[in-house]
Amino acid sequence: MPSIGLYRNKLLAALSITLLLAIWQGLALFLRSPTLPTPAIVAATFWQATMSGELPYHLGVTLLRLIISFSLAMLIGCAIGIILGNNKTLDAFFDNWLVIFLNIPALVTIILCYVWFGLVESAAILAVVVNKLPNVIVTIREGARALDKDLLEMAQSYRFSKRKTFLHVIWPQLHPFVMAATRSGLALIWKIILVVELLGRSNGMGYQLHIFFQLFDVASLLAYSFAFIAVIQLIEILVLKPLDRKTQRWRR
């Protein structure tokens, strides 16, 4: 029965988390070092930072940057990906550009953006977008190349408008690729965003982590990290999973 399987999986997940915490606790007690605080100390730090409003503020700032740069990268990336996937000449022309941009280290783009545009918000966002964009383009391009010609012909013979063709014939086929780009994108962007903040902003998670590093404040460092991981998990559970279920319900 599925309910028993579900129950068993939840139990397993709880057990594995407990085991991880137990190992951490054991190690911390054994080492007795300020560089590895116990889970209880980290939890207390988390609580304090939340109550003082410091953690929510920096987390909020970073999330805002994440949403803006993610949306820009997805929007521009989808548009370019669809165009390249459908146009062999443009694709052949820009393929080298893509390979170059895919292989520029994130740190280089970040430094270049700050050098060229100054230590400003738009430079930070631009650095993240430029880092993420090639990945989105490559993923969506694959999807656009794999579009079902039969269905496009059907749409053409029944005189579908361009809008209707895009919404009901093309977009549902691209959806799995968009979701893949979204998932890998979120994971990539939040890592890059911390470096961007560390190097050139005076707020956000990256900036805070930088300060904790200078103060050797490992408890705060861990507390902030867990808060961030929790938020990303929540996005997956509350937004991406339900979206998947809703749009994939036609599959057998």
């Binding site: 039969d150 269905l151 053409q156 013979s157 029944y158 009901h168 549902p172 036609w250």
Partner: protein, 247 residues
Amino acid sequence: MSDIRINISNKTYVLAHDTEQFHHAIADLDFTVHPQQFVCLVGPSGCGKTTLLNMIAGLDPHFEGQINIGQATQSPTIGYVFQNPRLLPWLTVRQNIEIVFDDKPPTSLIDNLLDNMQLFDAQHQYPERLSLGMQRRVSISRAFAINPDILLMDEPFVSLDAPTARQVRRLLYSLWQKRPHTVLFVTHDLREAIALADRLIFLSPSPMRIVSDIEVPIAREQRTDEGCVEAFREQLLQNHPKISELL
């Protein structure tokens, strides 16, 4: 609705882009289909029948010649039943029919159609959960729903088992009698062609041209009689020995 005039002098396509090998698909094809005529195009597989339907549907504009359909002022509506059903898998049966309308889809007309095609109970299901026979019926319903001036059907019953094919053929026929359109029906089943068509056009292997153009004089009410269809078939094959080579 006026005649469909098909006059194609040449249709070739490239087989492989690197070797520039050409396939000569159609040469000098010239015929006219009258309004509300049910025409069966019979020919061996690979002779270019699907290519011809695609050209009429406007999906393949690369050919030498002309296809004139109806009035010059207004482009005719075309219902196309493809060889595979080509339903949108993320839409339900009903949505797949509704989507071909630009405005609000006519509820009662679609209800009627679903009922006629025995799809009413399956209307909220997704295509992948249906049998191929049901998917084909959805695809035929979709083509009928827009009340097309021209109905193009590309072997719509191939790979259906005989009883299902017979059932869908009957449904198609009764729908067509209620609302006659011009039909171009591709098949290589001569019995099926005789049972359905006003006129049979036999086509040669590529480059495709017309081998024979024959009216079917059997009265509509006699078409369901298999003996009658069989007798006509045998007579046809006797009088036109070339035809049997095409089947």
